[in-house]
Symmetry: D2
Subunit: 393 residues, 4 copies
């Protein structure tokens, strides 16, 4: 590659990125099959368990690799995505959640996280963060409810786009806690696989990211013990520590689209070298390079701003710091999504009609890349709305 | 629709456009199934036979509707495409070819076209123009050869993207005539269905336009009588009358992408009306309207320039007139392709994650619309190269 | 030019366009001087009087050229603008007003317009439509007031961007009529040059269009006879006949930016031919051609829709027809503004650093072209807002 | 500002950036006057002398601030440009040259640089790098010649866009050394103010950057002593240490356009807060935020890549390292130029017609920002050509 690709900034990050690159290369061969069948990338996730990749963001104290830089995590996700975008988002959902737990353990007051971290540190446990609801306001006012009952809480509700749900050992959700007395509260819960009342529908069938197993998960009078539901503050507001978790789960996801762009660029350049030169061909390549440099840069800068924002205990997080970080994150997400889509499109233009036939990887990338704008916390529409408000604040 | 949709300019054109609108509405329901299965739109083509739509561009003398305005033809194709883009390109390939024959009959010296026109006028015959070859230079120097032999000519070669080939009664091709003595000449032939040595591979499997049956067609010592191969002039140049035919076959095709854009716009506006208003939502709608007005305008203007260029006998066609028409055609094609892709993308943004699930029509349109830039005579790369040369000429 | 330039559709229009082309070529030499000095293009306007150009939209019955197609008018304005954009907008403001008067005479009930039409038919009278107010809502609720008094009306208020005001024989304004009894009404008036209480400030000094003399005009107890103020209906709404006038005054203005684009394209192509070829150079040329074809097409289509909408008496105008016409007009305005700006920018890129030095015409065009988005009735912001509403209606 | 503005990474850099911010705020008031008169920003440069700002990149050993990070230098230039872009490019040309000299002193073998560094360390000396020639190939094959003569060398030639030339104590140039025997060599020279045979034309008059005094400089038999001309290697190639100098002189220049964008954004947001809200207004603000985040990010990333490339002695510079750095630099330059132009344009859209009147700062920024694409080493055309080649290498 002519430009400078992103590189990890910490020792632990370098190890994770290197693993990601190896896994990505290995997963590339299977990506077409997973896509064609719309089949969850279970074998890839097993491979990620074997090497300890899934313990990447768990502290070394618990056997993990100890990556705590979101910068390095987003680079690792991008490398994985060069091979298989579906696997990249699957791995991301788990690694982001595990990062969130390590932060809670490191800075928070929650001393009960050691058992969970030990599990995560084995790299054998896979989690699913079921963050989206049909109504689209899952975070501020989850329609999913945990209603207090004598034995604990009864969960009812439905989540969508629950990547990994097919095999996840733990499904984490936000919900509204409804006690007999008192106002509704925002809560979270981690529901173990096999809990009665939790059904994974197996209904993921989409334009792209077809291997990500992003099924719906339905809770019907799903009983949880009282201490399994965590109070996250008042409904309608996102606390600063919660934002930290949201950053960890959703920001590195953006790396997926950089990885897609990088692979598309490689396909384009390979094809261009074999074609007779032409002015339009050269211009497409130049614009691909510009778009790629742009995507890398905005991702790196947002990652740096996030890492700086989060490099302090919960109590020292500031609304301003989080706002600025969210601003840079959303701008970066938009720019990476646009750049990656433009690169895939230009790559198809360079490659020509062959890229339109089923089996050519660009057709898959064209579909996968369109998932980006829908990703949480803000879709393109909500993200632009947020940036306008933030800009005028 | 708020803006002014395109309307036919001739009486015959209005009849064709009205038919197209009815057929389009009818085909909409089946579009998803054809797409999912990658199955040729045979039932739709049968419906187009029944109403005489396929005789649209055949003179009334032969029982057709007598549409000779490419403007009106492109409008009709766009209406059909609102319902089923695959059917639109299938119909187009036939109607464009039939237009070319009526023009040859009207202005040319070829008195032997009456039998063919009678067949076309029944509306029961479907043709396939197999215009593309693997090497990509099929028009200027076809690799497919017709080699003289005592019984006539032996055809050998391979064509791609041969829409309608699955059921076509006639497959038309450009080829290089190789006589024992003399230089190679450019030729054309129409090969009847079932001719020994012509094999339709049934291998169409692509990202979009999955119902168009655009299979490969292989000729292996396919014997044609001497008078079935027509001399089209020296190899390496396209004669003015041949350009007329190319315009008729390839220009109305662009209407397909306008139809896609119009349907995507409808889906977006329907969804937007049900959503809570927002600045980003409004802006997406505004830009959809701008892009749609643009696509319609460039298509209409190019159509007018083409119609004016072609409203004279072959002998009075001028290189300048054809050059200007090609310039406007290629610019319009680029703009419609870009606008339509932008509209589909914005429509997905407006609709949200639901549009990413299999079964939502926008996912199909997102794939179908990407076919446009590859279409003949010039892909995006070649079209931009042509426009630069033309601009500097 | 490689593409097809716009051409008039009527005989009268062809005469006007031909005159415009001759005048434009003549004005090109003086454009730099007018721009440098920020001096009104008085000599050019005198030349336009001499040839009868200014009587272009006055009926032949009154000695004018009788152009009533807005399509042909916009083409004529574009030709003039190839030479001098400031003169083009100056001429437009007059010709649009005169068109409005001929329509009122033709379809309206106002039999008292003959004297005015006779004056306009001489081509010696220049009008100024002072349509903008500092507050920005001049059309719906003019802050300028005509207050009834025993001798007629006293005008008070301030208008901006009043092109031609420096020498105009008549200044036309919209205002709010305030009678002693009754609700405020929307009114219009034409104030003769030299009327006491009307002051032209001579303060036009702007980034571009520096020769257009678009000064502020201030009314201070300016006394008009009672019959000089015309009742235009209730305040806060624009009647359909008023829309016709707004179309005539503001739509052909858009042709100015096409003319700018066409001249910029010529400068770019001339320079490109003298440079050593390069891929980026070719791509800039190709994109200039695409943008130019786009600008021409949207302008032509909007013109056709407007002409069709207006080809009927006031009583037969429909809200739907006017809405659709406004929709196409605003979309076309946006696209022409964007395309023209992009073409000027690309032309500077092609020409190189020389275009940045004072004296090179592209520097002037770069400044002139930026006026477009501010033009009435809707600036870019309001136009996008309108298109979103219209699209969702 | 909602997003995260760029910040210096070193202690020395922070001091320079802070000075730049203070100077920028102070220069803002005078910017309009310099622009209107097209008068060199002499008073600003005097102010920069007074605070030692001009010694910013000179090592502390010689009394300077010791900034050696190009990252921090580009941030400082951007801060200065928020107030006065002409002053920013004037300061940049000097600081970049001084940086180049400190590097040559630090890593090179040239022990004779101490006297020059002492001068630079006073902050009282201003240099002018006259890097461009009419023919446009000044770096690879300068048309300016130094012909050997008994007393040393006679310089003949012409340089353009020589910012600071009006008052510079030293004018530095690249030239072709022509000895009686031997091949032409690439050379450089620093010509002191007042040297006979060097004439500064005082002819700078341009669309923007009107205060930068970027006059032509003409050499006519200008006699220099033999040791004043330095041999820089073979003609037609740029050595790696020379690239380091080119980076230092040309890269921080890009910061000027970020500063323009940041000031334009401020003007837009201030205006938007005073307007009634609207969807199009919000969208313009959102896109301004996205473009600003993009510009900052690409600039920061390119700066980091450059700093890493240059953090080693000349002998350890690698062609690969320089190539990658140039790739990122050129991509960043393109993106910043595009983003800054888009931001200024959107800001005018937000502010409305007021921004079109002479005296509003946005009119000046609109003209200043257009200088960016012409800047060395590669204009937009050459930069895109380079990126295509680099991408395919």
């Amino acid at each position: 590659m002519s430009g400078a690709e992103l590189a990890a900034r910490t020792e632990a990050g370098r190890a994770l990125v290197e693993l990601a690159a190896r896994h990505g290369a290995e997963f590339l061969d299977r990506a077409a099959a997973h896509d064609a069948a719309g089949r969850y990338v279970a074998a890839n996730v097993d491979a990620l368990k074997t090497t300890g990749f899934l313990a990447g963001t768990t502290p070394t104290e618990f056997g993990g690799l100890g990556v705590d830089s979101l910068h390095d995590l987003v680079v690792a996700i991008s490398r994985l995505a060069r091979g298989c975008p579906s696997t990249a988002i699957a791995a991301n959902m788990h690694l982001g959640f595990a990062w969130h737990i390590q932060r809670a353990w490191r800075y928070g007051t929650a001393e009960d996280l050691a058992p969970l971290l030990k599990m995560l540190g084995t790299g054998q446990v896979v989690t699913c963060h079921a963050g989206t609801e049909p109504g689209g306001r899952s975070l501020l006012e989850p329609a999913t409810q945990a209603r207090a009952c004598p034995e604990g809480y009864l969960l009812n509700g439905r989540k969508m786009f629950a990547t990994n749900s097919e095999i996840a050992d733990l499904v984490t959700v936000y919900l509204t806690i409804v006690d007999a007395d008192g106002k509704p509260r925002l809560g979270s819960a981690a529901v173990p696989r096999g809990t009665a009342g939790m059904t994974v529908l197996g209904n993921w069938d989409a334009l792209g990211m077809r291997g990500s197993g992003s099924h719906d998960v339905v809770f019907t009078d799903c009983l949880l013990p009282a201490d399994a539901v965590r109070d996250e503050g008042p409904v309608g507001a996102v606390s600063l520590p919660l934002w930290a978790g949201l950053f960890a789960i959703n920001f590195p996801l953006v790396g997926t689209y950089l990885g897609i762009a990088e692979y598309a660029r490689e396909l384009a350049v390979d094809a261009a070298r074999r074609k007779r030169p032409g002015s339009a061909l050269a211009s497409q390549v130049a614009e691909i390079e510009v778009a790629l440099a742009t995507a890398r840069a905005v991702l790196e800068r947002a990652a740096d701003v996030l890492d700086e924002c989060l490099a302090r205990p919960d109590a020292e997080l500031t609304q301003d710091g989080v706002d600025v970080a969210l601003h840079e994150f959303q701008a970066a997400k938009l720019v990476v999504n646009r750049s990656a889509a433009a690169i895939v499109d230009a790559a198809m233009t360079v490659v020509g009609g062959a890229s339109f036939r089923t089996g050519h990887p660009l057709g898959r990338l064209y579909r996968d890349v369109r998932a980006g704008p829908f990703m949480a916390p803000y879709s393109t529409l909500d993200g632009l709305g947020f940036l306008a408000e933030s800009g005028l604040a």
